[in-house]
């Protein structure tokens, strides 16, 4: 049987690709032509197959397709104005989407590199998604992973102050958004919004956001979306390269330096990178945000060895973070708490400093991974991945023992994944995989506190199958996954007596998707997925003060007969009323391109049965003072939403992009609002790609006004005063409430200028240009202080 290459879908809504039908000449070359330095697509480049009359021109996204080739190996001649012509041998590998890098003529190097494919992960092709490339990431090296994604429609971030930020996709975050770093589930303390993923974005080659159910491929935590952070792809045949970048930001007087070198030969490739960031106290328009500095250092390396059928890769990365939390968020009495909630200027506002003191989080995260690809036949491939991660987290509170961490945890994560991409069978392509995942969490002694999270060992066996079939240009995709997860938990109750619990859940995850190529200009994708998620240990067993609040897990909170919260009991899971969280998400994406107008409309319905969330219950006194208190609860939640992007090419070099994220949510069981759900936001981005200007080879200007609405669906407000003096009593039947009203809507203006000059690239960006005072509904510290004011950010990169 002659190999018939699968068509790899790829979100080029208007390209009219044709599948080669000739049995004997069924090879295709599909690829992207990119700028070797900026990684930006090069449109209108000519790609010619040497020796025959086959050629193609890249589209606006730099993509091309040549079909009907009779030979497996072809020599391509790639040419584009302003770039050195390149001659490159392309070996036809199944399923490969090659990236061809052209080097600008000014650099005088006639080099081109072929990059391993960067196409969609199998099992997510029918799900709406978007990828940020290296250039977009490196234009703001000091920001967090979550903040870098927040420009994507439907994506925002929830935070605890300026340093701790978690991505939110379609209103959900935490345990419903899976963060995959280098193909491995990021093994960190994923509780609520209090911890940011310990990932160095400067080391990322690209970041993809999948805005729909991708649980079959990645596990039930991926119900609402996935963030894929991918490292350097370890390109072969790539001459020695290096980049060095520096950045400075005015708000917090932050600075960053990062460097990367690498090289690829015929059989080997390696890279090494490192970065360092330090930021001092940020400043809101009217005052300093004391103790909001951070310090972060990271390095990573990777080696690849390529042997025809075998491809070996190993990676290691390390990050060390010291993140300050706003000092004003910590108080010791109910009077001080009421004062803090109502203060115009937060208490403990001190002059600027780089020094981070309590409260702060110090974490180290190690990741090591080995990956083997074995192409055992023309069409079949086996991939094996093994990863180990060690996450060491220490958190310090303002308290009398503040030199000792109040939380001190070691989390060890192992991950093994074996995946078989099977040969095409009756037109069906797909992959079958088995995975084993294990986590071991241990409390280190010496915290002078009842452990917030118990010790636990979690182990999970998983198997999945994903198949897809092409009908012309349409794709049908179906997937099924089985997970069986056992947790063994050992903790201490409020009297320090030991409790133990052990439970096992077996869950199915399913997904069904279809993509229609409606016409040359329009496509429609639809995907429905279900995922049943085992409540995680934090949701079940959280106990006591964490950060600026106290929070109690599903098994650690009950109610007394008089309706008051009782946290002295530990209920075993089997004896409790806790249920699996059952989620169903339908995502539709419609894309159309017409007359310089591109419209992308994503709609979704997400229904979650036994949705686990935390809600305020009052104020309680812990060992270190008085805290607003929350408990975990389950409800039936419905989320309906719309993301809309409209890009209009006004002229050849001027474009406007309008974006809207709309989300409606409700606790349908109780017919009441939910808390901490993303408000509606809208933005406009004007981009002027000026091309050459003065001494600069390229120059691009961006202006981005945006408006975030007040959360009109926020729950009722019960002031702290009424809870402290007992004039409002909260019982389990009370309607959900918040301590303060949702903040007002706000208008922000961002602007930036990006340039390239010879081997230098860089940008000057202004965030919150109007120095607006505002509070973000998704920031846990919205009770205490405003968001940062104006920030000017300067970055400069050098390529050598």
């Amino acid at each position: 049987m002659k190999p018939l290459l699968p068509i790899l879908l790829f979100a080029l809504f208007w390209s009219s690709f044709v599948l080669g039908q000739n049995e004997s000449c069924a090879y295709t070359v599909k690829g992207m032509v990119l700028d070797a330095v900026t990684k930006a697509p090069i449109p209108y480049a000519t790609v010619r197959v040497e020796g025959i009359e086959k050629y193609a021109t890249t589209n606006e996204d730099g993509a091309f397709l040549i079909t009907g080739l009779c030979s497996e190996t072809n020599t391509l001649i790639i040419a584009s104005l302003g770039y050195s012509q390149s001659r490159q041998v392309h070996r036809n590998e199944q399923g490969s989407l090659a990236s061809f890098y052209l080097t600008e003529k000014i650099t005088g190097l006639d080099e081109v590199t072929v990059q391993a494919e960067k196409n969609k992960v199998i099992g997510t092709e029918t799900v709406a998604q978007i990828t940020l490339n290296k250039a977009e990431i490196s234009s703001n090296p000091t920001q967090s992973l979550a903040a870098s994604l927040s420009k994507v429609e439907g994506v925002t971030f929830a935070s605890t102050g300026t340093n701790v930020q978690l991505p939110v996709i379609h209103g959900l975050s935490g345990n419903r958004i899976l963060i995959l770093n280098n193909g491995l589930k990021h093994g960190f303390q994923n509780w609520g919004t209090e911890h940011a993923p310990e990932i160095d974005i400067n080391a990322a080659n690209n970041i993809t956001v999948i805005k729909g159910a991708a649980g079959v491929r990645f596990g039930p935590e991926a119900l609402s979306g996935v963030v894929l952070v991918e490292p350097n792809p370890l390109v072969l045949d790539n001459p020695l390269y290096g980049t060095a970048g520096i950045g400075y930001q005015t708000n917090g007087r932050g600075y960053n330096a990062n460097v990367e070198i690498g090289q690829g030969t015929e059989k080997w490739s390696y890279f090494a990178n490192g970065s360092y960031t330090r930021i001092g106290d940020r400043k809101a328009p009217d005052y300093n945000l004391s103790n909001t500095g951070k310090e972060e250092s990271a390095f990573g390396l990777g080696v690849r060895h390529y042997l025809n059928d075998w491809d070996f890769k190993i990676y290691y990365s390390f990050i060390d973070q010291d993140l300050g939390l706003l000092r004003a968020s910590f108080v010791e009495s109910s009077e001080a708490l009421i004062r803090a909630y109502n203060a115009d200027v937060p208490d403990f506002t001190d002059p600027f400093t780089y020094t981070v003191r309590e409260p702060n989080h110090i974490t180290q995260h190690h990741l090591a991974k080995a990956e083997v690809d074995w192409k055992y036949s023309e069409e079949g491939k086996l991939n094996f991945r093994a990863g180990v991660q060690l996450n060491k987290r220490r958190e310090f509170d303002v308290r009398r023992n503040e030199e000792f961490p109040i939380i001190d945890l070691d989390l060890l994560t192992y991950d093994y994944q074996l995946e078989w991409e099977h040969p095409t069978w009756k037109g069906i392509d797909g992959s079958i995989g088995v995975q084993y995942f294990e986590q071991n969490n241990d409390n280190n002694p010496g915290t002078f506190n009842v452990p917030f999270i118990p010790n636990y060992n979690a182990s999970r066996f998983s198997a999945f199958i994903i198949e897809k079939i092409q009908f012309g240009e349409d794709t049908f995709e179906v997937g099924l996954r089985l997970d069986t997860e056992t947790n063994d938990v050992r903790g201490r109750d409020n009297t320090q007596a030991i409790f133990r619990d052990r439970y096992t859940f077996t869950n199915f995850t399913t997904s069904l998707g279809y993509q229609w190529q409606l016409s040359g200009n329009s496509s429609f994708k639809t995907n429905i997925g279900s995922a049943f998620r085992t409540p995680n240990v934090a949701e079940l067993f959280s106990f006591g003060r964490h950060g600026s609040r106290s929070i109690f897990g599903l098994l650690r909170s009950g109610f007394n007969d008089d309706g008051t919260l009782n946290t002295s009991q530990v209920t075993l899971l089997d004896e409790s009323s806790v249920e699996l969280e059952r989620g169903y998400k339908l995502t539709n994406e419609f894309r159309t391109y017409n007359n310089n107008n591109t419209h992308v409309i994503t709609t979704y319905v997400n229904y979650i049965d036994n949705f686990i969330f935390y809600r305020p219950v009052g104020v309680s006194r812990g060992f270190t003072g008085v805290n607003p208190t929350f408990y975990y609860d389950q409800a039936d939640a419905l989320f309906l939403g719309l993301d809309y992007t409209w890009k209009k090419e006004l002229t050849n070099d001027l474009s406007a992009t309008y974006g809207l994220s709309y989300l409606w949510s409700r606790n349908t069981g109780q017919d009441e609002p939910l808390i901490n759900i993303a408000p509606i936001s809208t933005n406009l981005e004007l981009e002027w790609d000026q091309g050459e200007m003065w001494i600069f080879d390229s120059s691009k200007w961006t202006l981005r006004p945006s408006y975030t609405f007040e959360q009109f669906q926020a729950p009722r407000t019960v002031p702290l005063e009424d809870l402290v003096d007992g004039s409002t009593v909260i019982t389990p039947d009370s309607e959900i409430f918040d301590f303060l009203d949702a903040p007002n809507g706000y208008f922000l203006l961002d602007a930036s200028w990006d340039f390239k000059w010879d081997r230098f690239g860089g940008s000057i960006a202004a965030q919150n240009l109007l120095n607006t005072s505002y509070r973000n509904y998704l920031n846990e510290f919205r009770y205490f202080a405003d968001e940062p004011g104006i920030n000017l950010l300067f970055t400069l990169n050098y390529q050598f």
Binding site: F330, V331, E332, S333, S334, E335, A336, D347, F348, R357, V372, W374, Y376, L382, F384, A386, V388, V398, R399, R400, N401, E402, Y414, Y416, L418, Y436, E438, N440, D442, N443, P445, G446, T447, F448, N449, V450, P451, P454, N455, N457, S459, D488, R490, G491, R492, Q496, I498, R500, T564, G618, V619, S620, R621, G622, F623, T624, G625, V626, T629, V724
Partner: protein, 211 residues
Amino acid sequence: MKTIELFKNLRLLTLLFAAMAIVSCSDDDDAPDEENLPEVFTNVTLIFTPEGGGTAITAEAEDPDDAGAADLEVLDDITLAANTTYILTYTILNALDPDDVEDIGEEIEGEDDEHQFFFEFTDGAFTSPTGDGNIGEDNAADPINYLDEDSDEQDGSGNPVGLVTRWTTGAAQNGASFRVNLQHQPLVKTATSTSEDGDTDFDLEFVLNIQ
């Protein structure tokens, strides 16, 4: 031939997988260690000892609900004799565990550079100090007879702490007030810091009767 190689390679891969799975299966069964928990204030007793000798007068405040949100609750009035000089000291306890009552006063002494007592009272209740006390942002410099120097409890920077203070009552009156506020001021305490700085450890208002 090719099939054999394939089989060999598959076996290799399976072995690798199995080996790593075994290595990682290090089941441990340990619970977290028992921790020495930090202190809470459950009982604060004011002790007015007449400087000229005699029986000490005490007034207590207690936490009614242990770990609940309620602050300390004042149980007693302070009843002092008129025109008498008293030395005020404290017993500050954590009695959450009745079998292991802790003295928090010692801890405050150990962290005297982070703590200060502030006072507020009915104007004129005392002939020394005069006035109405030093609580409030603008009142920090108002007179209070801190005796920390005499008792070696002044903090390292020479700033007052207030574990020992001297009070001379004025004429008899009933239903006056006496407020004691312990502020925890890590890195905040200076010669000019006030009762508005730092966190409140406790803030108690007693009824003061002078007879």
